[in-house]
Symmetry: C2
């Protein structure tokens, strides 16, 4: 069975746990948001995702994209599905009404994005990159640029991309060589080669708007000489019609381990006409809007693939008959028991489920912070901005790392079947692996967290985070059924605080200590974030049970949370012990000895 979107789980999170309708009078975009509207959007999104997008996923993996004389052909049926998506208005869900968008909250758009990313991650990257391009232009473009590009980017009638990487520079964008020469008419002539450009060329749309990092002639060396340009595939005339073909072409497609349905392009710019976005030499700051959006999107993608992989594994485990339960037959009339009777199979499924549902809560909670950034109440807006900065690397790296782990567990549940391309487990595993790498490899996210985000504004964000958790825990002391969740959260938060102290004491004097600790620190952070989410989910479910709810869904939620607390949280101790060993054990080895 192809992936079925998890309406129930998202409804639980948006309406029961986050209670988004309570912001109707306080946050921009929430005016029309009610529990019913949320449910309606989820149901329509699920229908579209299940019926139109999910069937594309395997065909995309098998066919991939083809390049012929600069033209990219996407897999069979993809173009038609994309047009259906645009016609249905999905890309514009959370876009600015000034540019034709529906102005709905980010948190709702993200819930829909979760469905489509799970149904087909490679397909969802086309609208995903376009939305990132929209956001970057929305934040940094001139009024003229916004008027020219945003409406068609918002609707998805045009595609959008981000062009950063070059062969000699991935992480280190200071090494960019693509050059921009002023034409004297306000435009620039862009020349250079960009690689790994997702959705760089395709047959979905009439035009593709490239955002390109390049160096203006005579600009300073390194990162301080990088500017951002908008380079349309077809020049857009002042009346909005398409003009001449620009000097940008897809010169090659990468042969990748997964996400075959998305065209990963080598883009050749040869005197392509481009226009400066924002200020000269401040391109990195402008591009960061898109990069931060893409990082959240990548965290979402890793999580979403895990969700689909888990669903397939759970289905397989309930159907596959093999062996008998250790405590006697559970399916005595059948030739064997379904493998879900085995504790170790349940361990794998529950681990994946705890990651997926904890991750769904975490990313929606974070998306709500994105909405709160626009709060008219300054304190709320500031706190939300702090959280977004602090949590973006955690969402990106932790959810993709654990998402890949969950996809691998899902394959393991399938046994040998999972390794054949007949079942979807292999595609999920192959697709998931890229999410740990692109949009800033997970090690870079960890370094961003410990090197930049912790110290920003004198540590204000992390202190706020600690205070919020402390207050949550303090209000819930007691011996009720939630005790394991509250204790687990308090204990995990204490370890995170200890790790933070260690970093303050050791990372300043020797930056290598910060680097050596970064990944373990990020994992303790991720575990604490999920502990906070699981406490809230358990509390929400328990409240329903206490109110007489008998649907086993709520007991299942608490049982999954118990798995998280008892079987995943212990990793925080191991990460803390590793973190404390510092840099010496890593740095003492001469490079030649590797």
């Amino acid at each position: 069975m192809p992936y079925q979107a998890p309406v129930r789980d998202l409804d639980f999170l948006l309406n029961d746990m986050l209670g988004v309708e309570r912001y109707a009078n306080t946050l921009p975009g929430f005016a029309d948001v009610s529990a019913d509207l949320v449910r309606q959007v989820l149901e329509e999104g699920a229908r579209f995702s299940d019926e139109v997008i999910a069937p594309l996923n395997k065909v995309g993996d098998q066919h991939g994209c083809k390049l012929d004389a600069g033209k990219v052909t996407t897999p069979p049926g993809w173009k038609e599905a994309y047009h259906q998506m645009v016609e249905a208005g999905w890309p514009a869900l959370a876009a600015d009404p000034d540019y034709g968008g529906q102005g709905m909250p980010s948190v709702l758009a993200l819930a829909v994005g979760h469905m489509t990313a799970a149904a087909s991650p490679a397909f969802s990257m086309y609208p995903g990159l376009t939305h990132g391009c929209y956001e970057a232009l929305h934040a940094n473009g001139s009024e003229e640029q916004k008027a020219k590009y945003l409406p068609k980017l918002a609707s998805g009638e045009w595609g959008g991309t981000m062009n950063l990487t070059e062969p000699q520079c991935g992480t280190d964008l200071g090494l960019i060589r693509t050059k921009a020469v002023p034409n004297g008419d306000g435009s620039y002539s862009i020349t250079g080669q960009k690689i790994w450009i997702s959705s760089g060329e395709h047959d979905f749309t009439d035009n593709i708007i490239h955002l390109v990092l390049a160096r203006i002639e005579g600009a300073p060396e390194g990162i301080k000489g990088i500017s951002l340009f908008v380079v349309p595939k077809f020049i857009v005339n002042d009346d909005g019609s398409l003009g001449e073909r620009n000097g940008v072409e897809c010169a090659g497609l990468e042969h990748k381990m997964g996400i075959h349905g998305n065209a990963t392009c080598v883009m050749a710019y040869e005197n392509a006409k481009g226009w400066l976005v924002g200020t000269e030499n401040k391109g990195m700051a402008a591009m960061f809007v898109m990069m931060n959006e893409a990082r959240l999107g990548t965290g979402l993608q890793g999580l979403s693939i895990a969700a689909a992989a888990y669903q397939a594994a759970a289905e397989f485990a309930k159907e596959r008959l093999q062996g008998r339960s250790l405590t006697g037959p559970k399916n005595p009339e059948g030739p064997a028991d379904p493998i879900i009777v085995h504790p170790d199979v349940r361990r794998m499924l529950l681990e994946a489920k705890a990651i997926v549902e904890g991750g769904q809560a975490f990313i929606l909670w974070t998306a709500l912070q994105a909405d709160m950034q626009r709060s008219p109440e300054e304190a709320q807006a500031t706190k939300a901005k702090d959280y977004m900065a602090l949590l973006t690397p955690v969402v990106k790296a932790y959810l993709t790392d654990r998402g890949f782990h969950a996809a691998s567990l899902a394959m393991q549940v399938h046994g040998g079947s999972g390794y054949t391309e007949h079942y979807p487990a292999s595609q999920y595993l192959r697709d998931a692996r890229i999410t740990m790498i692109y949009e800033g490899a997970n090690g870079i996210q960890a370094l961003d967290l410990v090197g930049r985000k912790l110290a920003a504004n004198g540590g204000r964000a992390i202190m706020t985070w600690f205070s919020e958790i402390d207050a949550y825990v303090a209000e819930r002391q007691g011996d009720g059924p939630l005790k394991p969740f509250i204790d687990g959260l308090a204990s995990s938060k204490a370890k995170l605080q200890e790790a933070t102290m260690w970093l303050m004491q050791n990372g300043m004097q020797n930056p290598d200590n910060a680097g050596a600790a970064s990944t373990d620190y990020l994992h303790i952070f991720g575990l604490t974030a999920l502990a906070y989410m699981w406490a809230q989910m358990a509390e929400t479910a328990q409240a329903r049970i206490d109110a007489g709810e008998t649907d086993p869904y709520f007991a299942g939620k608490i049982a999954t949370g118990r798995y998280f607390v008892e079987r995943m949280l212990p990793d925080a101790d191991a990460h803390l012990a590793k973190l404390r060993t510092g840099a010496d054990v890593l740095m003492q080895m001469p490079a030649e000895a590797f």
Copy 2:
């Protein structure tokens, strides 16, 4: 650069750490074994592996195997390389001289097998399966069968396979339906379908000898009615010439995530002529010889792929220039520093290196036990047999699980490049993933360990293992440079013992507790085994340093071991904490809630 066989590491392990020449007078097969001979075999093996096998790996991944009208064509160049291998005598290295083998120790053959498995895992499965078939017939075949089949299996002139799985049964072989009907002339008529038969059909050899599990008409239900048959592709006449084509054919090839170069076949048996191997209805016991061999071989394969993946990642990290060291430029004349200056890149490399080198030591130490099983000294032979039974599931599951993890780290070091098929990281990751699944999925290995191996002979094997480690630790108390290794080993062993006690107290009363604890238990076991190996490697290297050796190789060995102790051993605590939570958290969830 293609994979280069690790002669230096294997020389260190075989000659320095294990000191294999000391067994020259006590173990069969070791009479001619000297340090020089070991080095010579390693060097010749490495030359063959580097020059002939390693270049096959990528072409195998890209071309895969093709099936046309029952005939399988292997990738370009593979057949020729196989013939070179047979001519050079490599398959016969450790085979019985009575059947044309060279009678060398298993430990030496395994060292050579490590090189070839790392150079091309898919290629190495052809001789690997043949050797397993040879071993099973050697242990269980009649004198006539041995005379007929063993010489050509030993030399590799014929191929061999094992046929267990059917569509309805993978792990649960009691469900086998393939039937065997006596022909009245001592032969049987075999009919049924087998799937996932590695090397099931190919163009390397004139004949392929299939070992097939089937049910003799009227045999008891389940596992007690399974017999083992030898079914040659071409009937072998009494004079050794090939007779008629038998009723067995490759009916399909699996489309897999990796190991494309190995033909994974659907085998159709239609009244194929077969001969009973060993006793009627005792086929499982006979096949276990091959399965145990295959399990060690799979552990070796997982480890070997990790070794190759690590090597490629280390090379990449030393060459790729990107960013600057956190403590100031290390390559000030260049545009950036090599990424190996970054602590987190070193963390990934050291983790993979600690797994690979610890795993090499562990599997060679275990292979030496395999040789000691044939010791004329009864106590030594009994202990070795106990260890082989106890450690086989640990070697299989721990090395493949950590091997895949290492291959994933190796991809991560490559960044985006690693996800493209231009670099070898993707193939290593895809190839490595199957090792966690086949020859008994890792969860089955964990269950075998806690359910069968621990309790066998009143727990004799595990008690001997604990005593050996206790004695090793007791003899090495003190404050010297080895203290962290000895302390780490003692502490890990104490956790393993605690976990064993927990299992004894909780697993008996509720078998689900044993199942729930099994994977965490196996990981604590694996960590303890590697801690024991790292202590021995560190001791060996330290002795060389103390003797005035200045080659940085030895200091590098100790530095890698320190990584293991400080950054990998902490996981034992987490596994112990998880293990102690028992089955309830896994079993309370109703199947419908997954």
